[in-house]
């Protein structure tokens, strides 16, 4: 790993580091404080005892030196001499051991005196030994007595010093002991306080560091349970967890957006499929209508040709009225034969109704009158074929037929703001509400196509085709029926006026 990277303290790492540092620093300082105090007490006690030990060794060795010298001088024993030299060496070692510090302390000065006196003592004793070996009696006795005098001084000094040290030591011990109690008390307090503080710190920091993680975990759990309606998780920090949280929040939002998009797509697809089904239905209806028309006119071509021939025959024979009648009937048939799948102009429709009315007039011989009131400007409008004639036929069959008075039918074609209004008004028997509702409750459903009136396509068929053609869902949007029983009926076709309406192409037409 990159060393620089290793030491870069950011985010979580920094937090953890700071935490550990704080705890360690506190514990470290606390233990340093304890250590220092312990060392202080130990040092104090040490210095007291070190001097005792030192003085005691000095005392013992000086005594050994003197007694061995005495033995040697008295007996000239080589053992005593050896012991004498041993003590001598030890003394020299001792005096070398404690460096003569220059101090103003009275006890230190006494130490210095003792060392110097010890050196003088050794000088005297050595001189005594040399004199003894040289058999110079007077001299060795003088040196010996001198050495005894000096050792007496040293003893006195050592005693004084011991006494001083004891006095100082005991008072020092008392203060140290008193202080030690205080120090121990303070130590305990500091230790406990620092421990508590550390514990609190640990709790606090653990909570601080893990709180965002816990929140994140809770949110993640909800996501796992497919609950996407969660508020954005917020963490009060700026570390890796914050980055993680931000990414998490972004992810939740993305998932939500994605789901919304999927739903929208599905809806669109469904709408498209519905439309397709509608198209299919319309096609079916058309087919059905054509079949009906074919069934209604057995071999229409033959019938049409026959009619034409009949018309010519009537003309040749000079029966003009008959000829015209037959001519109109032939036109009517031809129009029907054109098929329903081809859009026609309003002019075609109107002329078809004219042909039909001629025949009706002839047939009912003056009992029926049909009046046209057509706005010429609308004649070029493209409309579905055979939509007016069935309405007129309906008026005749259900309104006028069997009526005592003279039947009147008015066809009005006029313009309104949104629609082209085609009114067919009769003064016939009228229809009841149930029948009206039946007609208007129509839905473009091929299953009910068999219910047509045998002689025509019927109002229902017209309504269905208009609904499909103009793509509306309610019958009332294309047809209104106003009727009063015994007074007449007014049927209004409302063709939405949307300029150039695109004609739905129908496949499979003849």
């Amino acid at each position: 790993m990159n060393v620089k990277e290793f030491f870069r303290l950011t985010g979580l790492r920094k937090k953890l580091f700071i935490y550990y540092f704080c705890v360690m620093a506190m514990m470290g300082l606390t233990s340093y404080y304890s250590y220092y105090n312990a060392k202080y007490v130990l040092d104090k006690t040490n210095t007291i005892f070190m001097d005792y030990i030192h003085l005691n060794r000095l005392y013992v060795d000086i005594n050994a030196l003197e007694s061995n010298l005495e033995t040697f001088l008295a007996t000239q024993s080589s053992d005593a001499l050896l012991n004498y030299y041993n003590a001598n060496n030890r003394l020299r070692a001792i005096t070398d051991e404690r460096p003569l510090g220059s101090s103003k302390d009275a006890n230190d000065l006494m130490f210095v005196d003792i060392y110097h006196m010890t050196e003088n003592l050794i000088k005297e004793t050595d001189a005594a030994v040399t004199a003894k070996r040289g058999r110079n009696t007077d001299e060795y006795l003088a040196h010996f007595s001198n050495s005894q005098k000096i050792s007496g001084y040293i003893d006195m000094y050592i005693n004084d010093l011991l006494y001083n040290k004891l006095a100082a030591g005991s008072s020092q011990y008392e203060t140290t002991a008193r202080r030690m109690n205080l120090i121990l008390g303070i130590n305990a307090v500091i230790l406990i306080a620092s421990l508590l503080l550390n514990m609190l710190l640990a709790l606090y920091l653990t909570y601080r560091i893990t709180k965002p993680l816990v929140r994140l975990a809770q949110a993640a759990k909800r996501i796992a349970q497919e609950d996407y309606n969660i508020a954005a998780v917020s963490v009060g920090s700026q570390d890796e967890i914050a980055v993680l949280t931000q990414a998490f929040n972004q992810m939740v939002v993305s998932i939500r957006n994605h789901i919304a998009k999927l739903i929208q797509q599905k809806e669109t697809e469904e709408r498209l499929r519905e439309q397709e089904v509608q198209n299919l239905t319309m096609k079916n209806l058309l087919k059905e209508a054509e079949l009906k028309a074919l069934q209604a006119q057995i071999n229409p071509h033959f019938f049409f040709n026959t009619l034409n021939y009949a018309a010519q025959l009537a003309m040749i024979e000079g029966a003009d009225a008959s000829s015209t009648f037959i001519q109109k009937a032939a036109e009517l048939f031809r129009y029907s034969l054109k098929g329903l799948d081809r859009p026609v102009t309003l002019a075609d429709e109107v002329s078809n109704v004219e042909s039909y009315s001629y025949i009706l007039k002839a047939r009912f011989s003056g009992r029926v009158d049909i009046y046209f009131n057509v706005d010429e400007r609308l004649l070029d409008t493209v409309v579905p074929g055979l939509i007016i004639q069935p309405v007129v036929e309906n008026a005749l069959i259900h309104g006028i037929e069997g009526l005592d008075r003279k039947g009147l039918i008015y066809l009005n074609v006029q313009n309104s703001a949104q629609n082209i209004l085609i009114e067919v008004i009769d003064n016939g028997r009228g229809m009841n509400e149930q029948r009206k509702a039946e007609i208007l409750a129509v839905r473009p459903d091929p299953e009910k196509a068999h219910d047509y009136h045998t002689t025509g396509l019927g109002l229902r068929n017209v309504v269905e085709r208009l609904m499909l053609f103009y793509n509306v869902s309610h019958a009332s949007e294309v047809m209104e029926i106003y009727s009063q029983e015994g007074a007449g009926t007014r049927v209004v076709l409302k063709l939405p006026w949307k300029g150039e309406h695109e004609v739905v192409p129908i496949a499979g037409s003849r």
């Binding site: 704080c22 300082l29 220092y36 103003k104 110097h116 963490v235 009060g236």
Partner: protein, 341 residues
């Protein structure tokens, strides 16, 4: 499109309040440790500069306030001049012990010996022995003129006697019959005492009304002082006493109180102790002649340093004489409560 809002409150690991507390705790601990460390360091380094020399001062005894003042003066000088000084004192006046200490100092090869001396052959021999080994000796308060000592520091005995005479003259207004009680201290050799007497007598020459009736020499200090005082009182016509040492002065004052003769006998004392001060305040003792012990101690060390550094110093330093009576007691105390000469 939804967006994620940045949560951006609360920076760092800790809330500011917690941070402050934590820092305070850490700081406190650190300061505690540093303070401890420095306290310890200072304790270890009390002795700043190593002393230049190691001097050895012998005092006549360890109880007399006079010698305590000498010691104080020497200590102050040692501190100022940065020398180490070691004190030795027999508990009570003891010439032999003083001699032993001189021997010890010589054997301990100190840098200088400051001691009150006795002008006798044994003492002189020891002083000369030390000098022979290159250890300079300075005598204080009492001189050993015949030795090879480098210098003497103390009061002029003649002046001491003269001042005492003046004090007496003022006290009795020129008319008195005087008894003199000599010192029983062995160190106060005849020579010194004679010098004091000479001074005393020479002052009184100008006062014909004052007569020295008798001179006593006590043998055992206070105990015999009582007898002397009784003798003096029995004599009847003596109305003034001059004592030549501090212990006798106290003894005489005590006896006068015991015999209810306060105010009838004028006492001129020597030296100053708490008892003497007390008696002066009560009016039992009229006044006392005092050397300047602090100055003696101070100059003892100072002169010794001069000897060490310049190999020479003035052979006699007169530290002067002071008179203490009821009138100037307060100012004397002020002056001697720790000030330098």
């Amino acid at each position: 499109m939804e967006t994620v809002k940045h949560a951006n409150q609360g920076h760092g690991v800790l809330r500011p309040k917690v941070r402050v507390w934590l820092l305070a705790a850490l700081l406190l601990l650190t300061i505690l440790n540093i303070a401890l460390f420095y306290a310890r360091q200072r304790e270890n380094h009390v002795a700043e500069k190593p002393p230049q020399y190691h001097f050895y001062m012998i005092l006549q005894n360890s109880v007399d306030p006079f010698w305590q003042d000498v010691r104080r003066g020497a200590q102050d000088a040692a501190k100022t001049l940065n020398v180490a000084i070691e004190f030795r004192a027999p508990q009570f006046n003891n010439s032999e012990e003083e001699q032993k200490y001189i021997d010890i100092a010589t054997l301990s090869r100190v840098d200088g010996i400051i001691t009150p001396a006795v002008n006798n052959p044994d003492f002189i021999k020891l002083i000369n022995q030390a000098t022979a080994q290159g250890i300079p000796v300075i005598t204080i308060e009492n001189d050993a003129k015949d030795s090879q000592r480098q210098a003497f520091i103390g009061s002029n005995s003649f002046m001491l006697g003269a001042e005492a005479g003046k004090l007496l003259n003022d006290a009795v207004q020129g008319k008195a019959r005087v008894a003199v009680i000599m010192s029983s201290e062995l160190e106060k050799d005849a020579l010194t005492q004679n010098m004091i007497m000479n001074g005393f007598s020479s002052t009184l020459k100008d006062a014909p009304g004052i007569q020295v009736i008798k001179v006593y020499t006590p043998k055992m200090e206070i105990l015999s002082t009582e007898e002397i005082t009784q003798a003096v009182l029995r004599q009847g016509d003596i109305n003034a006493v001059f004592c030549l040492d501090a212990i006798n002065t106290v003894g005489v004052a005590q006896s006068i109180v015991d015999f209810n003769k306060v105010g009838k006998i004028t006492v001129i004392g020597y030296g100053i102790t708490p008892e003497i001060k007390n008696y002066i305040e009560k009016g039992v003792i009229h006044g006392t002649v005092v050397g300047n012990p602090y100055t003696i101690g101070y100059y003892g060390v100072k002169s010794m340093l001069e000897v060490k550094q310049n190999r020479t110093t003035s052979s006699v330093t007169d530290t002067g004489v002071q008179i203490v009576d009821k009138a100037n007691m307060t100012s004397y105390e002020m002056q001697n409560s720790g000030g330098k000469p």
